[in-house]
Symmetry: C2
């Protein structure tokens, strides 16, 4: 039974009826090449911010483009049904980002990346463009939900703050300073982040676990200069051989990471979580087949979903040293380098993991060699409390518009923004998004199923109603 059906039903109807126009507006936004990594695209990033401010202002928001040291933020406030200062209603911060990844390599696109194209797929029509799902399409799910509420009732059922970032694809350098500088303005009860996936196209999901990330570059220095392997080989330290020897020991025979203290604080998933994950019907064989593999890998005695969502990792993401051109060069390189990253889970302290990584390397330093270690940042793993009334309300809202029951899932990736918000503003986040695993984010021919766009809009319409029921 829908909540406050006389209030909600016409909003859902309005969103349905206006869906073609919603698609048109998404396409307008997708035509703006707001590539945040390219300095010469800064005016386009700004144009996307201006476009969003205009849209939000038309829906009754007090919206503005806010400068940062990098690309600007879009901040918008809606007082909710009671008007400014009034009304005992929940206050939700909606986060998304309007910048996109570079489209290159262009030759692999079937249509120009900034000319959104509607293509028929197995799930019906989809829109193909850079940013179709990440994150412009997802941002439009809540923006169009606001529009439907505004059109039918002239207001929103709760108090809303919107924060849209223009630097997510460059690592959000300005986000934390901006949050810290605007704590009072951005305070809310909870944050809704729409930048994740459904479980399947018909099964909505809230992501309650995200892994954190620790990323370092290590270089092992040996001889003072490159040497001739004939004249020195066999009698001097070879840093590439030594690096492989050390990195080759990262995992033990059980696939566990050997850094001292690496598993300190790691919490086992609850029996309830494990039971939920089993019910998801995840096929490890299909997961592996999708990337050309068939043999499970990783930590022994764990299911694939445990390994991906609840266990920390260490992967070498890059390695280089010596001669890497065509043909043969008989050199002993003076140094060798690698990029390493650890995915972290809740309970692990990133500083302690980095210390353990350093200790692991130090214990294995060959004589006369030295390590150079550069950190590219770290974020802890995140677990959203599943007993929060906001999460329950969001689940209920999803249940209002999907036939399949919504599920709670994890993600192996990292979305540091929730941690920033918790640290700077003091409240939790709810990850509810409508992408699919095959949406090719960051790749050529990125797409968003129109069915997902519509379900996302309807779900946000319903979630707004469910949040409104949570009178404080």
């Amino acid at each position: 039974m829908l909540p406050a059906a006389p209030v909600l039903a016409p909003v859902l109807g309005r969103a349905e009826a206006g869906f073609d126009a919603s698609v048109g507006r998404l396409c307008d936004l997708l035509r703006i090449p707001s590539v945040s990594t390219k300095p010469d695209h800064a005016p386009e990033v700004r144009r996307a911010a201006d476009w969003l401010v205009a849209e939000l202002a038309a829906l009754g928001f007090d919206a503005s483009v806010r400068p940062t040291a990098g690309h600007p933020m879009v901040v918008a406030h809606h007082p909710g049904p009671g008007g400014p200062g009034g009304g005992d209603v929940p206050h939700i911060l909606y986060y998304g980002h309007y910048d996109v990844q570079p489209p290159e390599p262009l030759e692999l696109w079937d249509s120009p990346p900034f000319e959104p194209t509607i293509v028929e797929g197995p799930h019906g029509p989809r829109v193909v463009a850079r940013g179709a799902v990440d994150d412009k399409g997802q941002v439009m799910t809540f923006l169009e939900a606001f529009r439907a509420w505004h059109a039918v009732h002239g207001t929103l059922p709760i108090r809303v703050t919107v924060l849209l970032e223009g630097e997510e694809e460059t690592g959000s350098p300005s986000l934390m300073p901006f949050l810290r500088a605007n704590v009072d303005e951005l305070k809310a009860d909870v944050c809704v982040i729409t930048d994740t996936n459904s479980w399947t196209i018909d099964t909505p999901a809230i992501t309650t676990r995200l892994r954190g990330l620790l990323y370092v570059e290590v270089t092992l220095h040996g001889p003072s200069h490159d040497l001739h392997s004939g004249l020195y080989g066999g009698a001097v330290l070879n840093p590439i051989n030594a690096l492989t020897r050390v990195l080759g020991q990262i995992h033990d025979e059980q696939g566990r990471v050997r850094f001292p203290g690496f598993y300190d604080g790691v919490r086992e998933p609850s029996a309830e979580e494990l039971a939920m994950w089993r019910e998801l019907g995840f096929s490890e064989a299909d997961f592996l087949a999708g990337v050309g593999l068939k043999t499970p890998a990783g930590e022994a005695g764990r299911s694939a979903l445990e390994r991906l969502w609840a266990r920390p990792t260490c992967d070498v993401n890059g390695i280089w040293g010596g001669y890497t051109g065509a043909g043969a060069k008989t050199v002993i390189a003076a140094k060798a380098s690698a990029k390493l990253s650890c995915r972290l889970v809740p309970g692990q302290d990133p500083d302690a993991v980095l210390a353990g990584l350093r200790a692991f390397l130090d214990e294995r330093t060959p004589p006369d060699a030295r390590w150079e270690i550069q950190s590219f940042g770290q974020s802890p793993g995140l677990q959203v409390p599943t007993d929060s009334p906001y999460l329950r309300a969001a689940m209920a809202g999803l249940g209002d518009v999907y036939t399949n029951r919504p599920v709670l899932i994890g993600s192996g990736g990292s979305i540091p923004v929730a941690g920033y918000i918790k640290d700077a503003l003091g409240f939790d986040s709810i990850f509810v998004g409508f992408g699919l695993e095959d949406d090719r984010i960051h790749s050529p021919n990125e797409k968003f199923e129109l069915k997902c766009l519509k379900n996302g809009i309807l779900a946000h319409v319903a979630m707004l109603a469910r949040f409104a029921e949570l009178r404080r």
Copy 2:
């Protein structure tokens, strides 16, 4: 006591008297930028060949430029004292090369690489230019010795064939076909190769051991495409991690290579060799300090000279995979690659070593992965018979002009030409050269000490006399 002193002494005197002119001719040759690796320099390579043919013809040689599929060979014949067809004298093939390495990086040269410059150093004047020692300066030691004999006696004391290659710095692709196509013309009793070093500037040396080389590139293929380390990390094969795990096992705790059968056929140096090497007074501490190290590395229980001259090795010469640019990218690469080379010693079969390397890799192939192995050629280790009369004659000739006693040494490097000559023509080679370890071959500011040039010329003059005593 010098051999046939009345014959030899005036030739040595002539070489001494004409030394300034010898330096002038070397500089003329050094001004020709005969860089064999650069296709647009082919006319310069040809010009160097023509220059050498003219010099040899002026010394009574029947000399010609001989085409190959690549750069040409210079071949020249001198009948010796008896004239064509006559005279029961030894017949020696002199090998050298007239092509040079590219001079880049140019900005690191103190003077232009093809404008030979005389600079004062701790050993007196030296000539600085690309090719100063490798191998134009070394070639001129025997060419100027021929000139002195020709000037004093109107002929040479033995029969001589000269073979000068223009592709040594590109791996000698035309050499073996040329030798095989001209077996009868190039037949001699022994080959003298002047492309190695003295032991010290005052201690001449004949190199009796050279290591062979096996060079491969290996790639470990895993997933069908690059993966996001958040969404896949911990549950799929990471080819870089796997490659380091395999390569990190190449050496056991004793520094021995683990490839099956790797040490099959390896011969221990004789007690005589070991005794000679001990007498050389080699300082491992100085050797290591020269490259910024202080701790001996390599196979346990072996001296540094054994490790360098008499023991096989496996070095990783290059490694690459995944993201190697600036900053962080959270990728699991689809593949990872390395270049590996083994220095081989006499008795090892390169084919068997390659088979052992393949077996080592295959035994460690992770599930779902596959190796791609590309060979860049192989040559066996070489040991020159120390009981050859030619080698004894060469030692005697060196002893005639140096105060210090000549020594027999090894080299950790590889000079495949001796193996080619043995295979195609059926006779041995003697490595006698006059370079120093600090001559910076292949590097900016390559130099040749004029003292070494002169000693080389005088030594070749004396060796010719000693060879002439070996009536067949």
